[in-house]
Amino acid sequence: MNVLHFVQAFFSDGAHWHGYDGIPTRLMEHLTYSLEALALAAVIGLPIGLVTGHYNRGGTTLSLIATAGRALPSFGLLVLMTILIGFGMTPVMIPLVVLAIPPILVTTYEAVRSVDPSPVDAARGMGMPESRVLFQVELPVALPLILGGLRSAAIQIVSTATIAAYVSLGGLGRYIVDGLYQHNYEKVVGGATLVAVLALLTLGAFWAVARIAVSPGVRRSG
């Protein structure tokens, strides 16, 4: 049997399409974890990245934090947090957020910092307040890069959110963890395929957002 057979067997089994362990339920759980983690990481990473990038300060500190964040093993952090806090959503969210902050923070900082200084100078010289300089001059130009940072964070979250299943939560990781335990490789491959598809859909979603949100003037010249 090859992988494609596993995939076909998994998706054609009607039992996998409903109930608390059905694909729709697990997909929604996975999506919820991912969106929550991404939102939390963005709420922390975006403002810090925007402000540090605007004032071009704190780059060294940021890259230190980013390197540390990337070096932390998500699975180890999950186990540690579960031991410290106990079972629940919080110990799952912490490693996912820690994983997602560095790409968001660092790309946002770099994106804003590297905006061409002459329109910024022109904006200040025309009497534009600093907040407008940031949101109306720098942000629109930095947006493609910032979205790129959010996109890689989102994809990492989607792939890593499978670990939630190790601490008895749901999500697509459920199929992988249970399948491995039950030696049910059909389930393992099915779960992995769903994660891959979700990652691709995430890519597509960011592409669509960029199409809508980024000005054609920036898209073409950038």
């Binding site: 002459s118 022109a122 010289g125 000005s215 920036v218």
Partner: protein
Amino acid sequence: MAGSAGSVCQTRRVFGVLIRIDSVTKRYPDGTIAVDRLSLEIPDRSITVLVGPSGCGKTTTLRMINRMVEPSEGTILLDGKDVQQQPVNALRRSMGYVIQNAGLFQHRTIVDNIATVPRLLGWNKHKARARAAELMKRVGLDASLAERYPYQLSGGQQQRVGVARALAADPPVLLMDEPFSAVDPVVRKGLQDELLRIQDELGKTIVFVTHDIDEAVKLGTMVAVMRTGGRLAQFAPPAELLSNPADAFVEDFLGADRGIRRLSFFPSAGLRLLTSPVVAVDATAEQIAARDTAGAPYLLVTDLDGRPLGWSEPGDLTAGDVRPERLLPHGRPFVAGTDSLRAALDCAVLSPTGWAVAVDAGGRVTGVVSQQAIAEAIRGAHAEGRADAAADAKAVR
């Protein structure tokens, strides 16, 4: 020195002082002095050019006017009021600001770029865009460019947008920081001519920074030459700068050909044009013979409309068989009265015969003039210039 130069000019000034820079110094924390006790009176409704080598503090001076840089000492008065006592953003919105690479917002369309300051001032979108469209026309941009993005425009067009954006809220003052340095010489000349035309129409108080002395002489009503270390070397109208540089630095900065360039300020109207060495292409043998004694070694042949065809030695001309292709080229003619002595001299120098061809606005020959005659006119003009300067000096006393 700066003060005395300023007072001489004051007698010629038609307008009042709008911006008064009063012993302003800019010192950076590391001890560098960018501008050193600079005093300058910038006249109303005219172009004042700050020119000097890099590091002379000209840009810093400009940026202190709209408080992009705060002075360490001294005051800058705008219309009698200290700029440092005014709310900074309101102050900046009252002055147009144009920078080297235009600094357009790439995510906004041309019309929205131009509407920036009106929108900041709270105009509604419709009114701001209507104003922007009006300005596009004023700076010579086609209305079809309104919805384009900056990357779709050439460097020269982008700079026009920069100027339009600075003019959008109709500020009395325009600050321009090397606005035309990044475009090629042909486009630059076009932009300079356009600026002079716009200035004729609008009469703004323009402070213009450049490192190009030719640009300074061409655009400036008054030119402030600054030297390294942020000191003022001379503040004078361009003609005076060229005829009377304050010191060796200014003389050196003006370049080796300042005498020639100064001729741009003398009109060619006073030149004595000779009409006798001019013959039409259908001239008879008698006419050619009559012209031969006119005192010029060559005859200028024109077509039947009076436009120049070329030069010929009188002996080479055969009545009824004048072949334009055999004539010596006449070179670029100058427009008598409109062009300066510099243009006339240039024509004479470039002409293979050493004689310049003068034409009227329609391109018809009004006469020819020799290098010697131009040289005499130059001597005459210089003598007059000295008399004027003496009269001015007397008027001040």
